[in-house]
Amino acid sequence: MDKRREELIFQGLMIASALIVIGSLVYVLVVVVLKGLPALNLAMLIQTPKGGYYLGGEGGILNAITGSLCLAGGATVLALLLSLPIALFLQVYSGKSRFSEFTRLSLDVLWGVPSIVYGAFGFTIMVFLGVRASLLGGVMALTLLELPIMTRAMEEVISMVPFELKESAYALGATRLETAISVVVKQSLPGILTAILLAFGRGIGDAASVLFTAGYTDNLPSSLFRPVASLPLAVFFQLATPFPEVQQRAYASALVLTIIVLLISLGCRLVGGRFTAHVIR
């Protein structure tokens, strides 16, 4: 086969794969918008479910929207508090030691664990401690889910900070901590932001890990120790009813979830621009 044709065929295959990926994304979005948009109204966004909501009655999913924000927000904050120090430790302090390699391997294994396992694990611990399904339980299960994603993503961007940049800081007499915080974190801030977003997106969309640990309720979140609703479970429960109008609301809920993730991504991009002004390219 001549080179030109080979080139064309493989270019075609690559474009086709790209189209499959973009196509599925577009298809999902179109289905969610087409089926969800007609059922979406203001009442859905600002009301909690009233009696008979799941039979087609009045009400909304404010309980699930606020619940999901609390769950994913709390878990993202906790995961950030843990993963930034881990990532900095792995990259700035320990380098290629055996311990750090083992830590990386553990994180990769954790990344691959299905989220239902985190849910079951969290549930077992909660039973042992005598705690009921609650916001706290859900936040902890989601933190475990988000932690490896966030840490590995952060570590990846931190590893791209040029050695010479760190060396410049050390040459001025900076300690490793000073170098880590004022040089390494500053330089990799855009990537760190992306890592946080990635983990948040994964957390807010996960159903299995909150199923047992956070429970479900028609009320707004009121306490760390009470059950909370979440959007993925709202989608699941509504879709599981036999009533078409409730099923439509499931799509509307999915649309709300998608829009939340989208808005937060856009928000981070906007705010992120301010932090990235000083990054050395």
Binding site: G95, E167, A171, L172, G173, S182, Q187, H278, V279
Partner: protein
């Protein structure tokens, strides 16, 4: 030598299985420019970075021997490495400004060493930007990101940043090699001005630059110290055959 600032005794550096520096013993005179020359891979940079302990950041490096800074062995276990690096600054091969504004780059060193006063910092930043010959070009945009400067300006910013921690010794690892001729000249002129107050050690592979700058020359070849001495003697009456060959450009 009248006044050695740094004395190196039997310095050996190993990197994994390589014996990078072989038993170097040499003295570096105070407030003069010492130039280290030699073909690539001869250990020039390793030698330079072993003078402020940056060499130990590379994993798998082993060091033996003594480096005395005014009599203090910088490798003694109880010596604070950040203190050593504060006293011995480095200008690296390529400019590496820190990811912050021009002002913050220069203020970085003084800040980590505990200086907080606003006016004091303003004065330090201005003084050292002037000393590096950059003040006039940046005085109206001190808050701008340092990445917006040209490579030549960045290197002078790095010089100002290094001077701002008030070191006694300034190391330069081929500090002009990534710059255009005009910017390189700028840096060379600064170094000649600065030797009044600082002991300067420069690595270069450009012989003409060595002739322009050097008061004292150290010639390394394959990790060994071949010859060292005052610049006029070194260039006019080299003792070793290898030095003569290198000066004639035969390597």
């Amino acid at each position: 030598m009248a006044n050695p600032h740094i004395s190196v005794h039997n310095l050996n550096v190993f990197y994994r299985d390589d014996h990078t520096l072989k038993d170097l013993t040499v003295e570096i005179p105070e407030r003069q420019i010492t130039v280290i020359i030699g073909p690539s891979g001869c250990g020039k940079t390793t030698f330079l970075k072993s003078l402020n302990r940056l060499v130990e950041l590379v994993e798998g490096t082993k060091i033996s021997g003594q480096v005395l800074l005014h009599g203090l062995d910088i490798y003694r276990p109880d010596v604070d490495v950040t203190e050593i690096r504060k006293r011995i600054g480095l200008l690296s091969q390529r400019p590496h400004p820190l990811p912050m504004s021009i002002y913050d780059n220069v203020a970085f060193g003084p800040r980590i060493h505990g200086l907080k006063g606003r006016e004091e910092l303003d004065r330090i930043v201005e003084d050292h930007l002037r000393a590096a010959g950059l003040w006039e070009e940046v005085k109206d945009r001190l808050r701008a990101p340092s990445s917006r400067l040209s490579a030549g300006q960045q290197q002078r910013l790095c010089l100002a940043r290094g001077l701002a921690v008030e070191p006694e010794v300034l190391l330069g690892d081929e500090p002009t090699s990534a710059l255009d001729p005009i910017s390189a000249q700028h840096i060379e002129r600064r170094l000649l001005d600065l030797k009044e107050n600082y002991t300067i050690v420069i690595v270069t592979h450009i012989l003409r630059q060595a002739r322009r700058l050097a008061d004292y020359v150290i010639f390394l070849y394959l990790g060994e110290l071949v010859e060292h001495g005052p610049a006029t003697d070194f260039f006019n009456h080299p003792q070793e055959a290898r030095t003569r060959a290198y000066i004639r450009g035969e390597f």
